[in-house]
Symmetry: C2
Subunit: 222 residues, 2 copies
């Protein structure tokens, strides 16, 4: 016979704030750690959720009002030591959204904080965020993942800055553009440019419709 | 209040058999799917296992007698549809061992089958194995992971064949050796060579002690 195990889902919802990779925290309504900021999360509802992804989308929507375009399972954090209530397992998902999406959600109690400036968070949430950042950093080398951090329209120099914020390093402009061509997820928005001081206005791009909810991978990295 | 959720761990234990990536199945002792071959797995014991990795090692040791050098969390498979007993979550780990390790375990009811030749397995075990193979294939491009499939001593041509079996493609000998140098996980075994017909005997290598339980990654892939 199985002892009772707490089954939860937590979501690492990342965005860019002042060009820095940042995580969305929410004030906890209930004990333990009531009123402290932590990752949005909650119990799996076996009678309501068909699977963990369902649970993640339900919890994120209820607690933050946000429906991300792309949600990926990160890892399961589990054990006796991570939750004062008992043996718990949390299936963790991560999502990336443009900062406007979080602003527009207008939910009370949302806090966006740069991942490099975090204080000590409840449970093992610091470890969870570190694992999510490592995954994103790695995956940014060979996928369209950082594009989800951009708004609906962006310039190529703007997108390069987003990739650089994810990777934590500078990229060569020529090879970045070659890789974006190879990914083949972007299309120019006809007649839309962005003025940049004395420079020639930059063409605006957007994600092609079929890649708004689907990641594209490179066979070789950036 | 939370409804009851079944919390289990399953292990995808992979090896090479006739140069083909193969998975270890075990005859199930209990319902559901009693007597059918499936992945080794079992309930998490909250009073015994400190975390999921503990549970995976306990289950693998009890059911197969095998203690793998390296065990990595793959993904959690969960939901209402995958287990006839109810809403279940399985935290899945994968491990790679040399085929001699499975032979030496001498446990009854172990079946080793090429991953490309599998029949329909219980639960979502076919999906789980497919996900493990995809992870291994991807990770073999940039890590020492396939080395765990080799025995205690191996030649470089032998190790290249192992990498090729994981990747499902042929590799260039010169670039393979350069990447192995870069990984820097191997050492020649002094005075040990393997005869190959009319060819010059090949030097035997082994994993350096510090990499027997620890994966090494390349910054750029094979």
């Amino acid at each position: 016979m199985q002892q009772s195990i707490i089954a939860t889902v937590d979501i690492v919802l990342l965005t860019l704030q002042q060009q820095r990779l940042s995580v969305t925290l929410i004030k906890r309504d209930n004990p333990p750690f009531q009123t402290m900021a932590a990752l949005p999360g909650g119990y799996i509802h076996a009678q309501e959720d068909n699977n963990c992804l369902d649970a993640a989308l339900r919890i994120l929507s209820t607690k933050t009002g946000i429906v991300p375009p792309y949600l990926e399972q990160l890892q399961t954090f589990a054990g006796i030591a991570r939750d004062p209530r008992g043996w718990s397992m949390s299936v963790v998902y991560f999502a990336l959204v443009a900062s406007e999406v979080i602003t527009a959600a207008q939910h009370d109690g949302l806090v966006v904080c740069a991942v490099d400036d975090l204080w000590h968070l409840p449970f093992d949430h610091n470890d969870i965020i570190a694992a999510a950042v490592a995954r994103i950093r790695n995956k940014s080398y060979y996928s369209s993942l950082p594009c989800y951090l951009a708004g609906p329209m962006f310039t190529l120099p703007g997108l390069q800055k987003i990739y650089e914020a994810c990777l934590g390093e500078s990229l060569n402009k020529v090879s970045f553009r070659r890789k974006m061509d190879e990914l083949n997820v972007l299309e120019p928005v006809s007649g839309q440019t962005e003025a940049h001081g004395a420079h020639r206005p930059a063409q605006l791009y957007r994600l092609k419709a079929q890649f708004k909810n689907q990641l594209q991978l490179l066979s070789r990295g950036l």
